[in-house]
Symmetry: D2
Subunit: 336 residues, 4 copies
């Protein structure tokens, strides 16, 4: 059994703790949060102990790995400490909001003897990954276009938005990673526009946006479009479309169940899509844990690696540059 | 050009006249209706002449074929006269409400030198016929079960119901024919129940029903279910499902266009299905004409033959007997 | 925490043990199986003890309830013993293959002070129960027709079929219960046909069938069709359709994920449906446990009661009578 | 009856001639083509006369309107001549490949006393126009994003591509128009990338592209993405998606019929989409004629006006500029 501690007992830490507890080859070894009450609550729910400090976890010889779900500014430090302590790492995205910090961290952990996995859970989604597998198997011939639709059901609270680091680093970063994952080739150019359409005050008060469109292109000319919105009232809208010269693949949205209604006004009306990303990507989060456990067991490189986390952030930086300058930006313009 | 006259200028006669006029290898030669004004109206709309009598049409050497869309009690007589006059016949269903009359007519036209086609338009529906073709091509292996859902959008006017001859002879007759068409083997047993659920007064006042369920079986054990309702508020509900030991085929409902709506209440809500059978089966009615023209040109036996019309009526009679006696009736019990 | 023991550690007992272990307000207290090794294996996997005998469980004051998943012939006895011991019961269907035994058991447990729930898991399926709720809320007006499609992906092993008690008692019993649940009124008449189409040897050697069709009707005239097959190669086919005078509701099949393929041959081709009933009805099995725990906590009557189990068996008996006699059978003809 | 002559008897002229012939309030008055044989063939098929010259048509007092379906370089001239002759005009897109010529033509016909309609048939598509109507009726609240997917089933012949004027002016021009139609506000900025992915030789030999992505934005910040491909092997892929803060609308693809296949490999596999644009947009082409006839009858401005034709070409020019310069181009940079 792989003994894993969870650092950070907020919403996503709680979910990971519960998921870990269900894994047949892993066990939740301990939890920690700077908010002691939060840690105690999760510890009690899962029947484990709440560590008094993060150090307690890093220094314990009863812990093999850590799942880092703390506030973003602590991620890079914790990764470095964990690696130094020989603990495998599964760290939530983003690694850091600052690319220089991420690159410095990369240098430090370059020779890590343990796997470091980044929380790009969508790579593990059964639908998305089956789409990619079918594409790699040649089902659609040569890949030409990727369309990623990624819309959250509603605007997060203002406090969240103030700390999140901006739409591109917080939300689109998943889509930048998914774009790289699906294109199977590095994007070399990127273009972005963004606006505060849902809540215009976001722009005036936070210099933030809530609706965005992107175009990416690889060296061989493969094209990718991403669109984002913070308000899809019909549920979590998470689609990936792959067009090739021999066909198309679509990983479509998920419903809680398949009830269809037929009236004199409309037919085939279904239950709204799974609303919150925790439900929408439930299987993905479970598979993410499973993938992590398997990598630690085998000493393999995770499907979502540290470098993947750094590359997605580079794309976010390039996208911001494109938005500011109104032009197609070469990804190589971002000093990585 | 095949010169075809239309007898009967009611709703369905008008449609056939318009469809004929569009066929590249047929021409509408004349129209007739006992209601002179109705005939004149169609004649004017299509730019042809309204015959003064049916005889005028049957005796004309400028007419090759007749499409009989008059009141049901005239069908058998007109078929016999047309055949005697050497005119090919496309006659609306049912041939007659009385099975003895139909069998007598069958005897008279047994050696007809012209094709006689019955208006079982659903055999010509692109979806239904592609389902059958796929089944015959072996796509689903051995056929085991056929499920026919056949529901009209709303109850016809009382006057129509009084003359229609009962649900089984008027409406289900299409489904009995479709069952034979899809089973690719003669049903030997039938069971029926029916009720007046939509308008209970139909039962009390007309001894009529509006909702029914049937089970049919062939000698080799293939099973078929038909369900009927006179009120599907979501549009014409016309589905055919074929289950075999290697798969299933479903000919599904048709929408006028593919607009889907997504709100916080429901997703993928589409425009109601095509409402009226004239719209739902528009392509089928066109293909029916085309099939008729081709049969006359080649002297071939129509896909929907006189005998098919008679067999469907036998099933209706057997179904009534089953309903009255509350038992599985052998089709051979109906003296044909 | 409700302490529940699982009797029977076969396929379905294993699943229930695992599900129970995940419930927040229940705990798996012990397991038992006449096959000691099977019990030990489940006990080890779940970290509980394997009882040496069923009696040990019934007499333990550390056990509040039992989940009976043993061989069918033991069900009625165990229910009686459990009730006498004051343990709440969740018993897999069918209660017994013999209706007299079931009725005798009913008499014995008539004044039970504990809830007795029967394993009609489909009542707890999110899609099916949402369909019923919408119908009861008046969304489709008056209910007229219910269509239940219930097809297993493949024929069970011969040994299973030999002990199962026949298609109607083993498989259709779920659909008979679902029919009662959806009709919201007792069926008073039933008609059945059945054949061995998938494996004709079943008929010759076991007097068993694998394909069946049923028609049921209530006193007020509501109609219900059920169709069964033991081979739907495209996955577990479990649909419920409710037609009313103001609309239709359809609880449709479930896919593992929503990947759609588009080629020059077909479009919108999806992953086959969830194959095995354990996967197809996973949420239903979880909700069934949850419903049971809630009923025990509140002393409430389960959604799927002992009487529901008995009524479904009466319908199975009536259906066999109909099949043998080739007629519509009144349910009251079965001495209950 | 509105008497309409068709100029140009190629593929699309033939289709228009046949459509016109079916309109209840229009009649095909004559046809013309520089290829006399082509004109004779259409004339014979439709039972009309083939004019000896275009002038013959423009000077005839038996012709009320012209439908211009000749080679693109003749469009602007014919529009000017027709307007001078007092004939209403329905002209295929594009008006001309040269924006200056279009603007000059605009000046000349500025005071036309007859309607001039441009062949942006997609505005008349039942699904697309119902989506727009629902959006304008407020169904999705404020419009934020428009996604237009527009893919042809296969690459046109080399000869066609050589004369077509480039992807943006030939194919995307429909989507630029649709973007304007759906955004209900003028796009002020545009970004484009394009590649020859399907046939790399197109780039080297014709300086042409076959795959493209665009981002447009209006002054108020509404965002629009268009993607194009010349090879969607699964049929004509023509989708329009409208996202608002209260919901989403999707005008989806069309199938010839609704046959779905279920096997052990895939479920719900449908017939490929209508393949060729003539079939996919059949209803749109019919409605386009109907809209034209109604505009001439009422002296109304067409839904697709001359200015719409000019604006779409401006967007094409701006898109080419964006592609060349790798930046977001303001539409106002194009001297119109």
């Amino acid at each position: 059994m792989l003994r894993i501690a969870v650092l950070g007992c907020g919403r996503i830490g709680q979910m990971h703790a519960a998921n870990l507890a269900k894994h047949p080859r892993a066990e939740l070894a301990a939890v920690f949060d700077v908010n002691r009450a939060a840690a105690e609550s999760v510890a009690k729910a899962q029947g484990v102990t709440a560590a008094g400090s993060a150090e307690e976890i890093f220094s314990s010889d009863k812990i093999d790995a850590v799942l880092i779900a703390t506030a973003t500014p602590t991620h890079a430090d914790y990764i470095e400490i964990a690696v130094a302590a020989g603990k495998a790492v599964l760290c939530e995205k983003p690694i850091d909001l600052n690319l220089e910090r991420v690159s410095a961290c990369a240098a430090k952990v370059a020779n890590a003897k343990v796997p470091i996995q980044i929380g790009f859970n969508r790579r593990y989604d059964p639908g998305h990954s089956a789409a990619r597998a079918a594409m790699l198997a040649g089902e659609i011939g040569d890949l030409h276009q990727v369309i990623i639709t990624s819309r959250d059901p509603s605007l997060p609270p203002r406090a969240y938005l103030e700390a999140a680091g901006g739409l591109f680093r917080d939300m689109t970063i998943h889509d930048f990673d998914l774009a790289r994952f699906m294109l199977d080739e590095e994007p070399t150019e990127i273009f972005a526009i963004a606006n505060a359409l849902i809540d215009p005050k976001l722009g005036a008060e936070l210099n933030e946006v809530d609706s965005a469109m992107f175009v990416l292109r690889t060296a061989s000319g493969k094209q990718c479009h991403i669109n984002n919105s913070r308000t899809a009232v019909y549920g979590s809208d998470q689609r990936v479309e792959l067009l090739g010269n021999k066909g198309m693949l679509l990983s479509d949205n998920r419903k809680p169940f398949e009830l269809r209604r037929f009236t004199s006004k409309t037919v085939e009306a279904s239950e709204p899509y799974l609303y919150f990303f925790l439900e929408r990507y439930h299987e993905a989060f479970m598979a993410e844990i499973d993938g992590f456990v398997a990598c630690v067991e085998k000493g393999a490189v995770p499907l979502a690696s540290f470098e993947d986390g750094r590359r997605a952030l580079i794309l976010a930086e390039a996208a911001y540059k494109s938005m500011r300058e109104g032009r197609l930006v070469r990804v190589s313009e971002i000093a990585a």
